[in-house]
C-alpha cells in the first residue's frame, strides 16, 4: 500500500502543476557556438562525422525518395526532415548493441547504425532482397543485425513492448538497454500509459524517447493534450525525465548518454522529450497547407538541426565547404544509382505469401497455396509477377 509521506494542508488547494515547469536542456546555438554555461559532450571527430554523415544521408534520402514518390516510382514515403538531430543524436549516444524500437520516422537511426542505401531501397521497393519480403509499406524497415526492430504501423504498440524487451535485457544481465521512439501523438494511446507505468514499476533499462514535433498528421499538439508537452507525465510514473531541444545534436546526445547510464547502471527508465518540428508533410499522402501556415514552418526552418551541427563542425574545423559539397553529391548519386538497381530487382517469390505466418506453413494454408498456384497457372497473364514461380510445378 501507498504510505503517503506528503504534507498536510487544511484548505482545499488544487494544483495542475503549472507552477512546476520542466526546463529545456540546450547546448548548441544555431550559429554553432555553445550557450554560456554549456559544455559539449565528449564526442571525438570520428564520431562527430559519423553522426553528421548519417544526418546528411537521411536528408538526402528523404528528399530524393519524396521526389521518387512524386514521380510515381514509389507508392509511399515518410520524411524525417527537421528531426535528424533528435533521432541520430540519441542513437549515437547508445551502444550499437542496444535495441531500437522506432515508430516510423527514425530512418536516421538506421543510417547511423550502418544500414546501407541498398538496404533502404530494397525495403522501399519491396523487392526480393527486402528483409521484410515485400510485405509492408515503404519505410517499415527492420534489421536484426543492427538491433533495429521492424517497424509496425499501429501506433504506440512498441512502447510496452520496449518495456518487456528491456526487462529481458535486465534478466539477461547483458548491460544493454532499449530505446523506444514515439511521437507526441502516439503518446495519447493507452499503450503509452501501460508501457511507462510498467517500466517504472519493474525498473527496466529503457529510454522512452518522445519526438514532440508539434503535429500528429493534421492535429496540433494543443489538440492532443492540454499540458506543457509530454515531459510532465514523467511525474505521474516517478520516472527520471528530461526535456531537450530536439534540434540540438549536442544536447540530445548528452541527455541520452546520461539517460543510458541511469538505465543500464541503475535500472532506472528515463523519459526524454525532444522538442522539434515536423518540417515536411506527415507523409507523401499529406498536404500540410490545409492545417498550418508557411510562416509557422519558416520559423522552424531557421532552426535546421543539420545546419546547426554543420556550423559547429565548421567552427571546430572538422568540416569544410568542399567536403560538404562532395558528400552531398556523392550521396545524391548513390541514392539515384541504388534506386535504379533496387527497382529492377524482382519481387519476392510467390511462396513468401504464406511463409512466416507460422514457423511452418500449416496444412490448410498449404492447401490454399496449392490452389492459388493452380489458379495462376490457369491465368498466367493476370499474375505477371508470379507466373514464373508456378511454371510446371505441382
Amino acid at each position: 500500500m501507498t504510505t503517503t509521506k506528503s504534507k498536510t494542508v487544511y484548505t482545499p488547494v488544487f494544483t495542475d502543476g503549472a507552477e512546476y515547469r520542466i526546463p529545456t536542456f540546450k547546448l548548441l546555438k544555431q550559429d554553432g557556438s555553445l550557450y554560456k554555461g554549456g559544455k559539449a559532450p565528449d564526442i571525438d571527430k570520428e564520431k562527430a562525422l559519423r553522426i553528421y554523415h548519417a544526418m546528411v544521408t537521411t536528408r538526402v534520402l528523404d528528399e530524393r525518395m519524396l521526389g521518387a514518390q512524386r514521380q510515381g516510382r514509389l507508392s509511399f514515403y515518410m520524411q524525417c526532415t527537421g528531426e535528424e538531430a533528435a533521432i541520430i543524436g540519441s542513437t549515437a549516444a547508445l551502444d550499437d548493441a542496444d535495441m531500437i524500437m522506432a515508430q516510423y520516422r527514425e530512418q536516421g537511426a538506421l543510417a547511423y547504425r550502418g544500414f546501407t542505401i541498398d538496404e533502404f531501397m530494397n525495403q522501399l521497393f519491396g523487392n526480393e532482397k527486402d528483409y521484410g519480403k515485400g510485405r509492408q509499406m515503404p519505410v517499415h524497415y527492420g534489421s536484426s543485425k543492427l538491433n533495429y526492430m521492424t517497424i509496425s504501423s499501429p501506433l504506440a504498440t512498441q512502447i510496452p513492448q520496449a518495456t518487456g524487451y528491456a526487462y529481458g535485457q535486465k534478466m539477461a544481465g547483458d548491460g544493454h538497454c532499449t530505446i523506444v521512439y514515439f511521437g507526441e501523438g502516439a503518446a495519447s494511446e493507452g499503450d503509452f500509459h501501460a508501457g511507462l507505468n510498467m517500466a517504472a514499476v519493474h525498473r527496466v533499462p529503457a529510454i522512452f524517447f518522445c519526438r514532440n514535433n508539434g503535429y500528429a498528421i493534421s492535429t496540433p499538439a494543443d489538440e492532443q493534450f492540454a499540458a506543457d508537452g509530454i515531459a510532465p507525465r514523467g511525474f505521474g510514473y516517478k520516472m527520471d525525465t528530461i526535456r531537450v531541444d530536439g534540434n540540438d545534436i549536442l544536447a540530445v546526445y548528452q541527455a541520452t548518454e546520461a539517460a543510458r547510464k541511469l538505465a543500464v547502471e541503475e535500472n532506472r527508465p528515463v523519459l526524454i522529450e525532444a522538442m522539434s518540428y515536423r518540417l515536411a508533410a506527415h507523409s507523401s499522402s499529406d498536404d500540410p497547407s490545409g492545417y498550418r501556415s508557411k510562416d509557422e514552418e519558416a520559423v522552424w526552418r531557421e532552426k535546421d538541426p543539420i545546419l546547426r551541427m554543420q556550423n559547429w563542425l565548421t567552427k571546430k574545423k572538422w568540416w569544410s565547404e568542399g567536403e560538404e559539397k562532395e558528400l552531398q553529391e556523392r550521396l545524391r548519386r548513390e541514392v539515384l544509382e541504388t534506386m535504379k538497381r533496387a527497382q529492377k530487382l524482382p519481387p519476392p517469390p510467390l511462396e513468401t505469401l504464406v511463409t512466416d505466418v507460422y514457423d511452418e506453413v500449416p496444412p490448410l494454408l498449404s492447401a490454399q497455396f496449392e490452389k492459388l498456384k493452380a489458379h495462376i497457372r490457369k491465368y498466367p497473364d493476370e499474375y505477371p509477377k508470379s507466373a514464373i514461380h508456378v511454371q510446371g510445378g505441382a
Binding site: S75, F76, G126, G134, R135, Q136, M137, H140, S152, S153, P154, L155, G185, A186, S188, E189, G190, D191, A216, I217, S218, T219, E223, Q224, F225, S285, D286, G290, Y291, P347, P348, L350, T352, L353, V354, V357, L364, L365, Q368, F369, L372, H375, I376, K378, Y379, E382, Y383, K385, S386
Partner: protein, 325 residues
C-alpha cells in the same frame, strides 16, 4: 439526383444528419479542420463549429469510450476510426461495452445512438495495416449492428439509417471505392433498411453473395459466368449483423448453389457463418458444396496483394465449379 463519389455521399449524409439534429457530433483523429485523412468530414467543422466536429487525441479506445458515454447521455456520436486496422485498441469498448450496455442494465441505459465509421479493405497497396476487413471480428458480438455499403447511393442511405438506428452500429466503408465508385445519389434525407440483404440480380443456377467492395468483383465475375451461360443470382448482404438469413436462404432454395466472397481471411471469416447456416437451412436443396472465395489465411501482404486477393477470376472459377459440380 446528383453524381457523387462515395466520399461525397458519406459527407452529404453526415452533413444532413448534423443539420437535422444538433445532437449529432462527428469526431475522431484529424476529422476537424482537416476533414479526415480521406476528407469524409470535410467542411463539417467549418459549418457546425468546433464543438460538434472535432479532432480527438490519438487514442482509439478513448474515442469509442468517449462515444459510448456521449451516446448514453443522449447525444448521437458518429465516431471515426481512421483505418479499420486501428479499431482493435477499441475492441474492448465496442465488444464489452457498446454491445452489452443495454442488456446489462436491463435497458435502463443504452448506447443505441452510437455510430462508428471506419474505412476498411485492400486494393490500395496498404499492406498489413491499411487493408484489413475486420467485420467478422465483430460479428460474433450480439448487440452490435454491422453495415457495409457497396456504392455512393447505398452509403448515404445506410449511413443515415445507421445514425438513426437505436442500436450501436459499425459502419465499414470500402476505402478502395471512396473515389472510384461514382453514381447517382438522391438529394436530401433518405434511409435504406438495416438488416435486409438486397437481391441485385435474379438468376437460377447459383447465388453469389458478398458485401461492400466485393460487389464490384462479383459483378465482373458474374459477367464472365453469364457469358458461359450460367444464370447467377447476385445478393448484397449489406448488413452483416444481424444478417438477413431469409433472403439468402430463399435464394439458395431456388438456385441450389451458393458462392460467398469476402476480402478477409477464410478461417473465421463471416462466409463461414453464412455457409454453416445455409447448409442447415437448405440441406436438401443444395446441389453443390457452398463455396467461399476469400483472402488467404495470412496477414495482408503488399507486393503480392493481387495474388492474395479474392478477385473476379477466383470468384468466376468458384461459380463455374459450383455449377459444374
Amino acid at each position: 439526383m446528383a453524381k457523387m463519389n462515395m466520399l461525397q455521399a458519406i459527407n452529404d449524409a453526415l452533413d444532413l444528419a448534423m443539420a437535422a439534429n444538433d445532437k449529432v457530433l462527428c469526431f475522431g483523429e484529424d476529422v476537424g479542420v482537416f476533414g479526415g485523412v480521406f476528407r469524409a468530414t470535410s467542411n463539417l467543422q467549418q459549418k457546425y463549429g468546433k464543438d460538434r466536429c472535432f479532432n480527438t487525441p490519438l487514442v482509439e479506445q478513448g474515442i469509442i469510450g468517449f462515444a459510448n458515454g456521449l451516446a448514453a447521455q443522449g447525444s448521437f456520436p458518429v465516431a471515426e476510426i481512421q483505418f479499420a486496422d486501428y479499431i482493435f485498441p477499441a475492441f474492448d469498448q465496442i465488444v464489452n461495452e457498446s454491445a452489452k450496455f443495454r442488456y446489462r442494465s436491463g435497458n435502463l441505459f443504452n448506447v443505441g445512438n452510437l455510430t462508428i465509421r471506419t474505412p476498411y479493405g485492400g486494393g490500395i497497396a496498404g499492406g498489413l495495416y491499411h487493408s484489413q476487413s475486420p467485420e467478422a471480428y465483430f460479428a460474433h458480438t450480439p448487440g452490435l449492428k454491422i453495415v457495409v455499403p457497396r456504392n455512393p447511393h447505398q452509403a448515404k442511405g445506410l449511413l443515415l439509417a445507421s445514425i438513426n438506428d437505436p442500436n450501436p452500429t459499425l459502419f465499414f466503408e470500402p476505402k478502395r471505392l471512396y473515389r472510384a465508385s461514382v453514381g447517382e445519389v438522391p438529394e436530401g434525407e433518405y434511409q435504406l433498411p438495416l438488416g435486409e440483404a438486397e437481391v441485385l440480380k435474379e438468376g437460377t443456377d447459383v447465388t453469389v453473395l458478398g458485401w461492400g467492395a466485393q460487389m464490384e468483383v462479383i459483378d465482373k465475375a458474374v459477367e464472365m459466368a453469364e457469358k458461359e451461360g450460367f444464370s447467377c443470382e447476385v445478393i448484397d448482404l449489406r448488413t452483416i449483423l444481424p444478417w438477413d438469413v431469409e433472403t439468402v436462404a430463399e435464394s439458395v432454395l431456388k438456385t441450389g448453389r451458393l458462392v460467398i466472397t469476402h476480402e478477409a481471411p477464410l478461417t473465421g471469416g463471416f462466409a463461414g457463418e453464412i455457409a454453416a447456416t445455409i447448409q442447415e437451412r437448405c440441406f436438401l436443396y443444395l446441389e453443390s458444396p457452398i463455396a467461399r472465395v476469400t483472402g488467404m489465411d495470412t496477414p495482408f501482404p503488399l507486393v503480392l496483394e493481387k495474388e492474395h486477393f479474392p478477385n473476379h477470376l477466383k470468384v468466376y472459377e468458384a461459380i463455374r465449379e459450383s455449377v459444374e459440380f
